[in-house]
C-alpha cells in the first residue's frame, strides 16, 4: 500500500473511531467517556496490538494536525456569539480568568519544579488549564512535548469535572458567573460541557472564560516562565 492510500485510511479510520467515541459519550455521559479519551485509547490499543509505530500512524495523522491552527482561530466564533454577555460582564470575567491563569501557571510550574521534574516536562504541564490546541501551541513555543501537554490538559479537564461539585461548594462559589468562570478557566471544553448542563447562562460564561483564558495564558506564560524557572 502506498503512502497516500495509507494516509487516507488512517484519516478515515480516525474519523470513524472519533464518531464511535461520540456515540459512546452520548450513551454513557460521564467525564471518563470524554470522546478524546475514548478515541485516543482505542487508537493506542489498535497501534499496540498490530505493532504499528506512531510514526506510521502520523503519515495520516499529520494531515489532521494541519487543522489545529485554524481550529484555534475558529474559537473567535463562540466568543463573538457571546459578545453581549462579554461586554456587560467584562471586568469580572477578565479579572477572574486572569487571576486563575496566573495561579494555574505558577502552581503547576512550581509544584513540578519542586518535585524535581525536568524542564521539558514542566513546560508541557504549565499550560494544562487551556483548551488542547492552544496548550499544545504554547508548549511548542516553550520547548515542551506537545503529546504530553495534551495529556495534562485531559487530566485537568476530567479531574476538574470530577472535583467541581466539592471545590465549588467548599469555596462557596454559587453564582452562575463564578461557577462558569471557574469551570471554563480550569477545565476548558470538558468543564464547559458540564456548565452547559447546569444552565445555558453558566455555559455561555464558561465558553467565554475558556477562550479568554486561552488568550491570557498564551500571552503571559512565556514571561511568567522566565520569572519562575
Amino acid at each position: 500500500m502506498n503512502e497516500v492510500m495509507l494516509a487516507v485510511v488512517i484519516i478515515l479510520g480516525t474519523f470513524l473511531i472519533y464518531h464511535l467515541a461520540l456515540k459512546i459519550h452520548e450513551r454513557w455521559n460521564h467525564p471518563f467517556t470524554a470522546p478524546v479519551l475514548i478515541a485516543t485509547a482505542i487508537i493506542i490499543i489498535i497501534l499496540v496490538i498490530f505493532h504499528i509505530p506512531y510514526k506510521t500512524y502520523m503519515l495520516g495523522g499529520k494531515w489532521i494536525d494541519e487543522l489545529l491552527g485554524p481550529a484555534v482561530v475558529a474559537l473567535a466564533y463562540p466568543l463573538y456569539q457571546h459578545r453581549d454577555t462579554l461586554r456587560t460582564l467584562t471586568g469580572p470575567i477578565l479579572v477572574g480568568t486572569s487571576f486563575g491563569a496566573i495561579l494555574g501557571i505558577s502552581t503547576g510550574l512550581l509544584l513540578a519544579k519542586w518535585a524535581g521534574f525536568n524542564s521539558s516536562i514542566i513546560y508541557s504541564l504549565t499550560p494544562k488549564s487551556v483548551t488542547t490546541p492552544v496548550a499544545m501551541a504554547v508548549t511548542e513555543t516553550l520547548g515542551g512535548v506537545m503529546s504530553l501537554s495534551a495529556v495534562f490538559v485531559m487530566i485537568a479537564g476530567i479531574g476538574g469535572v470530577l472535583m467541581h461539585t466539592y471545590v465549588l461548594r467548599l469555596f462557596r462559589i454559587d453564582h452562575y458567573l463564578g461557577r462558569g468562570v471557574g469551570m471554563g478557566s480550569a477545565s476548558h471544553a470538558i468543564g464547559t460541557a458540564t456548565s452547559m448542563e447546569s444552565s445555558k447562562l453558566e455555559g455561555a460564561i464558561s465558553t467565554i472564560a475558556m477562550v479568554v483564558s486561552a488568550i491570557v495564558v498564551s500571552v503571559i506564560t512565556p514571561g511568567l516562565v522566565l520569572i519562575l524557572m
Binding site: V36, G61, V72, G91, L103, L111, I155, G160, A189
Partner: protein, 123 residues
C-alpha cells in the same frame, strides 16, 4: 453537498487567518502562538463587521463542535511516553489536579466577588 462546500470554503478562510497570525508572530518575533494571534484578529474583524459572520459561521461551528477530533493524533503520541506515568510520574497527575483546584477556586472566587459587588451597587 452545498453545506460541505461551504464548510470547506470557511475553513480555508480560517486557514488564511491562521497563516496571517503565523506571519505576524514570526515577523514581530512574538512569543504568542500564531494561531492565537489569528483568533484575536478574527474576533476584531467580526466585531468591526469587516468579516461577515456568515463567511466563517458553518466552518467555525463544524470545527468547534468537533474540536477533539483535530487533536486526537497528537494525543495518541502519548504512547511514546507511557513509562513517564509509572513510578514518580504519578506525581504529575496529583500536581495537575492540585493546580486545577487552585484555578477553579481562584478564578471563581474573584469573578463572583466582583460581580456581586457590581450587582450590589446597581440595587
Amino acid at each position: 453537498m452545498v453545506k460541505l462546500g461551504k464548510i470547506a470554503v470557511h475553513i480555508c478562510l480560517l486557514y488564511l487567518i491562521f497563516l496571517l497570525g503565523n506571519w505576524i508572530e514570526h515577523t514581530l518575533g512574538l512569543f504568542i502562538p500564531g494561531s492565537v494571534i489569528g483568533m484575536l484578529i478574527l474576533f476584531l474583524l467580526l466585531i468591526t463587521n469587516i468579516i461577515q459572520v456568515s463567511w466563517i459561521a458553518e466552518g467555525a461551528n463544524f470545527i468547534v463542535k468537533n474540536l477533539a477530533f483535530f487533536f486526537i493524533p497528537v494525543t495518541v503520541g502519548v504512547l511514546n511516553y507511557y513509562q513517564l506515568f509509572s513510578g514518580k510520574g504519578f506525581l504529575l497527575i496529583i500536581i495537575v489536579l492540585i493546580s486545577t483546584i487552585f484555578v477553579m477556586a481562584g478564578s471563581g472566587i474573584v469573578s463572583q466577588w466582583l460581580v456581586r459587588r457590581k450587582e450590589y451597587k446597581h440595587e
